[in-house]
């Protein structure tokens, strides 16, 4: 019971501190921007630990964070090999191939109206399909190695990226395009100086959605067959052994990788689309 009371106390303290930081005299400080989410996260972690211990939750249902941290620290070389297999080879390989293929296709689709009218409805249709369902088929075709995972990721990221890029390329107004025409700008010049920059918020929206999709694709594809390493393999075998500490460690690796990946894309987005309304004002 004391664990529960302590958890409530931690919550009240953390929330109060954050309220003061976010609205008090130091609200504009750079450190505050970093501290507030950190305090929020630490509060949640402390409550998790205290509640699990206070209520006596069995470790096969929800292990406390301290146990997950111990498992994580004790298996770093193993998890690193899983990371290389799933994230660097499967997810990143598929992401780069899929997104660049979609971007080039979008340029083609945008250039030729017939392709646009034919492929865009198909692309919209395919973007909505549960493409992860092709994982069993692709694993059958490309084998258990990382190539089949990259293939699933390529299929998963291609259509969202295509649809976003095409939507971005048609983002300019008739007035702006007319202006380029009065300058006698050709298709390439209009693309380079007007339409690509205008498309960037959409392109980055697609890229950000795809970071998450790539991770999901690479991990779920491993459920249908993988060599004896990889995050998906680690998760499914550890659940079989009821080693939830290891499951959460593998998920922690995936979360860290995903956050870094997403953060990197956001950073580039901020550099490229600094002029967009959503990037200003905060």
């Amino acid at each position: 019971m004391s664990g529960v009371v302590a958890a409530l106390g931690v919550w009240a303290a953390g929330f109060g501190l954050n309220l003061w930081l976010a609205n008090g005299p130091v609200r504009e400080a750079r450190a505050t921007r970093l501290a507030v989410p950190l305090i929020f996260g630490l509060t949640l972690l402390a409550m998790w630990e205290l509640l699990v211990r206070g209520l006596g939750v069995p470790a096969v249902i929800l292990p406390p964070p301290s146990q997950i941290a111990a498992t994580f620290a004790g298996n770093l070389p193993l998890l690193w090999r899983d990371f290389v297999q799933t994230i660097l080879k499967g997810a990143l390989g598929g992401y780069v191939i899929g997104c660049s293929a979609a971007f080039l296709t979008a340029l083609l689709v945008d250039r030729y109206d017939y392709l646009r009218r034919g492929l865009l409805p198909l692309g919209n249709f395919m973007a909505a399909l549960p493409i992860v369902g092709t994982a069993p088929i692709l694993v059958m075709w490309f084998g258990f190695g990382w190539q089949s995972k990259a293939a699933v990721v390529v299929l998963m990221v291609f259509f969202p990226m295509l649809v976003n890029t095409v939507a971005g390329l048609s983002e300019t107004s008739a007035m702006q395009r007319d202006l380029m025409r009065t300058y006698a700008a050709g298709w390439g010049q209009t693309l380079r100086h007007l339409r690509l920059p205008a498309a960037m918020p959409f392109v980055f929206n697609g890229l950000k959605i795809c970071t998450t999709l790539a991770l999901i694709g690479a991990i779920v594809a491993e459920f249908f067959g993988s060599p004896t390493l990889g995050l998906g393999f680690r998760i499914s075998t550890s659940i079989g052994q009821l080693d939830l500490g290891m499951v959460w460690s593998a998920i922690l690796v995936a979360a860290l990788a995903g956050t870094f990946f997403y953060g990197l894309v956001s950073l580039i987005e901020r550099r490229v689309t600094f002029w967009h309304a959503s990037q200003r004002g905060h």
Binding site: R117, G118, A128, P130, W141, Y262, H282
Partner: protein
């Protein structure tokens, strides 16, 4: 839909189906030649060991007379489109009418047809989507208005999404089962989580899309935060909302399907995994087609609502 809009799509679809038939030849050539050899025909090269190490196209070129069976192979790696359609017919209409548990023999609809499995998946998709999208909109409004929420929750909302929740599906289902929750809800939880993120990100972007000029105008009207929300931010966010709802419902369907993988209690995901275990590729493709049709109908419905809403708001010609 007018012919002018439809014809390019039909041409592309016909091209894809043609490619599919063409691809079925090299994909299935190993199985086809093995079957032909068993039937007493002479294939080149004659030993299965040699064939295993050869490329698909080389085998196709050396055995042109046996390729007719590529589109009717018993255990194809890539079943031809009409094989998938036959499987689709057999597992929907035929199963409902003439199956062992179908209408004719038992007087009720079959619980083994793809229609039944599709409805199981659809239920979880809907419940998850409603929960996820609702919470997403609420959180986005909170984030735009409360500084402490923006600063503390937004980074974690993003981080939490990079957790591939679908990988957690087996664990969520096991844990919820052990506290007595099973059936639709565990799948809906996974669906809700997957549909949550696109809505939060899209809505935060949409609610922040009014530019400085428009916000300044509201200030000159002395509008309070609630008025700015109702009259400026929410209307401005509608295109973003619908764009993210379309992604969200598709993600929700994926969540429901993946949530069905660990427990074989019906649903399209269960059908796909069963097909993958028993090498029934046509069954996987048929389940995929039904999932695709479901996704198409769901996204089309949201698209129709979007067009109506935007037209009434005067945001679309």
């Amino acid at each position: 839909m007018s012919m002018r809009r439809l014809s390019p799509v039909l041409v592309m679809v016909a091209g894809l189906i043609g490619l599919w038939y063409l691809a079925a030849v090299p994909m299935n050539v190993h199985e086809v030649l093995t079957a032909a050899e068993r039937g007493g025909a002479e294939v080149s090269p004659p030993s299965a060991m040699e064939r295993r190490d050869m490329g698909n196209w080389a085998l196709v070129l050396r055995n042109p007379e046996h390729l007719g069976a590529s589109w009717s192979s018993q255990r194809p790696r890539l079943p031809a489109p009409h094989v998938v359609l036959v499987e689709l017919y057999e597992s929907t209409i035929d199963e409902e009418l003439n199956g062992r548990r179908g209408l004719v023999r038992s007087g009720s609809l079959s619980n083994r047809s793809l229609v039944y499995h599709g409805l199981v998946t659809l239920n979880a998709t809907f419940v998850g989507f409603l929960i996820g999208a609702g919470l997403g909109i609420l959180l986005a409004v909170g984030i735009v208005h409360s500084r402490v929420m923006d600063m503390s929750v937004m980074p974690w909302a993003i981080v939490s999404q990079t957790i591939p929740i679908v990988a957690l599906a087996p664990m969520i289902i096991v844990v919820l089962y052990s506290i007595g929750v099973q059936g639709l809800l565990p799948k809906a939880v996974i669906s809700a989580y997957l549909s949550f993120f696109p809505v939060v990100v899209g809505m935060v972007k949409g609610l922040r899309s009014p530019d400085g000029m428009q916000l300044d105008l509201m200030r000159t009207y002395n509008a309070d935060a609630a008025t700015v929300l109702w009259k400026l931010r929410l209307p401005a966010s509608v295109p973003y909302l619908f764009a993210s709802l379309k992604i969200a419902i598709a993600a929700s369907l994926v969540g429901a399907i993946v949530g069905e993988l660990p427990v074989q209690q019906g649903g399209l995901g269960a059908r796909m995994l069963a097909g993958s275990y028993y090498g029934q590729t046509a069954q996987i493709w048929a389940a995929l087609l039904v999932a695709a049709a479901l996704a198409a109908v769901l996204v089309w419905a949201i698209g129709a609502a979007e067009r109506r809403a935007l037209r009434r708001m005067g945001m679309m010609a």
